[in-house]
């Protein structure tokens, strides 16, 4: 696994502010890429640690997302459930360069669970 391989998945503006898009990768779990109100970009596996809800469909507020199924709040930077809930969604390394979103190629090797 190469340490410095990044995959371009599009422009920051391709994701609505306070919204998310998904990345579908053959043989791995879907990735959700989030853009916050202050234009920070985060990526998580698109699966809530609670009941597997698609986090990409939740309401993004601050640097958190509320899961669309049962309103668990997940911190985008760490994948940690917040408040009284506990659990963690794997994060995916992501960076922005010249307005383009790059995700860590290693994420494409994540194994389905």
């Amino acid at each position: 696994m190469a340490a410095d391989r990044w995959i371009d998945v599009g422009r920051v503006e391709d994701i609505p502010q306070r919204g998310a898009r998904t990345i579908v990768i053959e043989g791995s779990e879907e990735i959700a890429v989030f853009r916050t109100g202050d234009d920070a970009v985060f990526a998580l596996i698109n699966r809530c640690p609670h009941k597997g809800g698609p986090l990409s469909q939740g309401i993004v507020h601050g640097h958190s997302v509320a899961c669309p199924l049962h309103n668990w709040n997940i911190a985008l930077a760490t994948g940690q459930a917040q408040g009284p809930d506990s659990g963690c969604t794997p994060t995916v390394k992501v960076r922005v360069e010249d307005g383009r979103i790059l995700i860590d190629a290693a994420a494409t090797l994540i194994v389905m669970v």
Binding site: R5, W6, I7, D8, V9, G10, D14, I15, P16, Q17, R18, G19, R21, T22, I23, V24, I25, E30, V33, T36, G37, D38, A40, F42, K51, G52, G53, P54, Q57, G58, I59, V60, H61, G62, H63, S64, A66, P68, L69, N71, N73, A75, A77, T78, Q80, T91, K93, R95, V96, I101, L102, A105
Partner: protein, 829 residues
């Protein structure tokens, strides 16, 4: 608005140019607070010039941590904006620090070369971060945590990714670590002492804090001594004296602060640890004053915000010829570290004659320790539950004899004073006048009470009068208790208002009223004007605000899709496996072969595992994938069907029976009236889902008496019923009235829906709404008052003229395709 800038009457207004000139060095919390206090006493006495080293207006430095953590924006921590300087004719010079003071010529010289003369000079330079001179401390990537520039650099470093080391496990260091950790960095805290925050916490509380932070993913190295910071030009890591190397691309040095005294020392003023001042904040030169963290008063220097308020009061009293004098401050620390409440005050080192009273509740993560000497509290440390901190601190400051309550002291004020648990009014009444109520704005109990007795008899009036509870709102309960205690029977009572959510101290009705009164037009505007405590709300308040604005501004407000719950954004119902179910509209529950064929085709074509009849007389197609939704809608549209809004806080369905056309008991055309009703009401957004039914006779086969609006046809006309619910709590409708014609039934229906749309709280069904406001109040607006009824119905029809377009059709034609299509991959080097 602002209690501190309200000007006092003067016999004659002195023109600006002939006033004494007060020059303030430092545009921070101390300098500006001093000017605020001065203006409040005598706005026309001085001409004021303020020098600031930073490029910003006056902001709340203690709120930098929430900015770093992404919980606040810079705009939200501004204390005084440009308008304040302009309104008070203050000359603000930013980004130009003063570099020299000439006390003989009475001038200051700034870095740019600018020379400004003064009659009185106020030094409020604050403090400088301590940088330990280990090898490598000048490398790129080594920063302190003191101002907005530091925060910007930390945010940039976090965005670039990588690991961070924070040197210093005091308050500032832990806040930096918390913020960086929230921003995704792997953070290690290196602390020289064996206990975190050892100046505020004892060993037990420090250990609890360390464990809690470690559970949150931070690495805490206590007893860690930094040997050097390694790297070529940029930071690459930190080496400890025991040889360990911790890789890092960012090092935050947060080991302490020291009074910023260079300017004063070079000007020849008397300086010890800080700039020496007397009780009136005057330095060794009578024309020069100093205030804040840069001063030393009676041998003490302070690094907290509370003493600063006291100093500024004494300073302003002195400058306006009514000297009162500063007597030093006893300080306490109440703060949140990483979301954990911590309080400490006084001396908790123990020692001779000191007795500890300790309570530990491991399961709740609570630790309390009160230190008593000769029956008087001398110190307290609270961890996890700091509610009684103010009381202990008050007892400590007054040196009260606590022997009578000693046995119950540790359980807190409510128990110890016999007020019983949950008597907040008694607790507030017992606070002394100088107890701090509002930490954000430094407002004491005495000031709040003065505002109340001065005529501020509502929470809003107190907020605008003295600023208490106007910022973060966490003291709203205390202010309400003070209103109750101060006004007694004259207070309308604590508003039974629950706040909308944790982002605001306002209730639903307050927010709605203000949206209309202030003609607000967008969610960010509401959040800004009503002091939201989060940058962009949460999943509770955003959908509510979006609805309130949509209802207030039909046809003008642009719906914010990102503030919609998933179902309303996707126009389908999300299921537990992340697929969606789709319900096409069948007007009045009536369908035909063409629609049924189209539905059957969709079920087969998209391999839907289940198709089911709903309780509202519709067909529900399950298991549709997000990506397939637009194609499914296109197929259903082609057969003439539109969105059934089975997913929305909106009109759901109008359920009917077959009525007089077929049924031998039917009295009227209930199916026809149902279809007309659905044609009139579909597409309307509501506070919550809304169901209608029309039954053709009192046998009520359409179950109209458990609907939000139900019609029961009788021989002589139509009975209109409202507020029914068949959900968790079954509620039978109330009879609103009886009307003679279909047209009237439709008219009353429109008026009722509009009243519900305008006055119910978001996510409040008609049943609890009617129980809250009373059926009579609704009858008064709809049945008894024809003018009101007509106006409501007219507003409903106006709103409907903008909302009756099929959301499926637009999306089937490609609108908002990003909601359905994943991003595509493109590999780069």
């Amino acid at each position: 608005m602002d209690g501190f800038t309200r000007t006092m009457e003067r016999p004659a207004v002195v023109p600006l140019e002939s006033r004494e000139h007060l020059v303030v060095i430092g545009n921070g919390m101390a300098g500006c607070r001093a000017v605020e206090e001065l203006l409040a006493r005598d706005a026309g006495r001085y001409r004021v010039t303020i020098f600031g080293a930073e490029p910003h207006v006056n902001y709340n430095r203690i709120m930098l941590s929430p900015v770093l953590a992404g919980e606040k924006t810079f705009d939200q921590i501004v204390i005084n904006d440009r308008a304040w300087y302009d309104d008070n004719a203050i000359d603000l010079i930013v980004s130009d620090p003063v570099e020299a003071i000439d006390r003989i010529g009475k001038t200051v010289t700034a870095r740019s070369g600018r020379v400004v003369g003064y009659d009185r000079l106020l030094i409020a330079t604050g403090s400088d971060p301590v940088i330990i001179p280990v090898p490598g401390h000048t490398l790129d990537g080594v920063i302190s945590f003191r101002d907005m520039t530091d925060v910007d650099r930390m945010i940039a470093a976090a965005d670039a990714g990588g690991d961070a080391v924070v040197i210093g496990g005091g308050l500032l260091g832990l806040e930096a670590a918390h913020g960086l950790s929230l921003r995704g960095m792997k953070v290690t805290v290196i602390h020289l002492m064996s206990t975190l925050m050892e100046r505020q916490l004892d060993e037990a509380a420090g250990w609890l804090l360390k464990s809690a932070l470690e559970a949150r993913g931070q690495t805490i190295l206590t007893g860690g001594d930094t040997a050097e910071i390694v790297g070529e030009t940029c930071v690459e890591g930190v080496r400890l004296k025991d040889g360990r190397l911790i890789p890092a691309s960012l090092v935050v040095m947060a080991v302490g602060i020291r009074p910023s005294v260079r300017l004063a020392r070079e000007a020849g003023l008397a300086v010890g640890r800080g700039i020496h001042v007397d009780d009136h904040m005057v330095t060794s030169d009578p024309a020069v004053l100093a205030v804040g963290e840069c001063v030393e008063h009676a041998g003490q220097v302070y690094g907290l915000v509370a003493p600063l308020w006291d100093m500024c009061r004494a300073l302003a009293d002195g400058l306006t010829g009514r000297p009162t004098g500063y007597r030093g401050s006893v300080t306490s620390t109440k703060l949140k570290v990483s979301g954990i409440d911590v309080f400490s005050a006084g001396d908790f080192s123990g020692g001779d004659g000191a007795q500890d009273i300790v309570l530990r509740d491991a399961s709740r993560g609570v630790y309390k320790r009160v230190v008593v000497r000769e029956n008087r509290i001398v110190g307290a440390v609270l961890y996890g539950d700091t509610g009684d901190g103010g009381w202990y601190f008050d007892l400590m400051k007054k040196a009260e004899d606590v022997s009578a309550v000693r046995d119950m002291l540790i359980f807190g004020q409510a128990f110890a004073l016999g007020g019983g648990p949950g008597d907040p009014n008694a607790a507030v009444a017992a606070l002394s006048d100088d107890a701090e109520i509002c930490g954000c704005n430094g407002v004491s109990k005495g000031k709040v009470v003065a505002a109340i007795t001065g005529g501020a008899t509502t929470l809003d009036a107190v907020r605008s009068g003295c600023k208490a509870s106007a910022s973060c709102g966490s003291c709203t309960g205390l202010v309400e208790s003070l209103l109750t205690v101060t006004l007694g029977d004259d207070y309308d009572g604590e508003r039974a208002v629950k706040t909308m959510c944790k982002c605001t101290s306002f209730g639903h009705d307050d927010v709605r009223r203000e949206i209309v009164a202030q003609a607000m037009r967008s969610i960010p505007e509401v959040m800004q004007r009503l002091h939201w405590s989060t940058p962009d709300g949460c999943s509770s308040c955003r959908p509510a605000l979006n609805y309130y604005l949509l209802c207030a501004l039909p046809g003008e407000y642009v719906d914010d899709q990102q503030s919609r719950f998933v179902n309303e954004r996707m126009h389908a119902n999300i299921q537990k496996d992340g697929t969606y179910s789709v319900v096409p509209r069948m007007w009045g529950g009536v369908t035909n072969p063409r629609e049924l064929r189209a539905i059957a085709d969709v079920v087969e074509k998209y391999d839907a595992p289940l198709v089911k009849v709903t309780g509202g007389q519709r067909l529900d197609i399950f298991g549709i994938k997000k990506d397939d939704l637009p194609a499914v809608w296109a197929d259903l549209n082609a057969a003439g069907m539109v969105s059934g809004h089975a997913y929305g806080k909106s009109l759901r369905t109008v359920k009917t029976c077959v009525g007089s056309d077929w049924c031998r008991f039917g009295t009227q055309d209930s199916t026809g009236l149902g279809i007309q009703t659905e044609r009139m009401t579909w597409g309307s957004w509501m506070p919550h889902k809304f169901k209608i039914a029309v039954s053709g006779c009192p046998r009520n086969c359409a179950e109209a008496t458990i609907k939000d609006f139900g019609v029961i046809c009788v021989d002589s006309g139509y009975e209109l019923h409202v507020g029914g619910n068949g959900g968790i709590k079954v509620r039978v409708t109330d009879l609103l009235c009886k009307v003679a014609t279909e047209a009237e039934a439709l008219h009353y229906c429109a008026a009722f829906i509009q009243l519900y749309r305008e006055e119910a709280r978001y996510l409040e069904r008609t049943a609890p709404w009617i129980e809250r406001v009373g059926l009579e109040a609704i009858k008064a607006r709809i049945v008894d008052d024809a003018e009101s009824r007509d106006a409501l119905a007219a507003r409903f029809h106006h709103s409907q003229s903008f909302s009756q377009d099929d959301p499926w059709a637009a999306r089937a034609n490609g609108a908002e395709s990003e909601q359905h299509q994943p991003l595509s991959l493109m590999e780069t080097a």
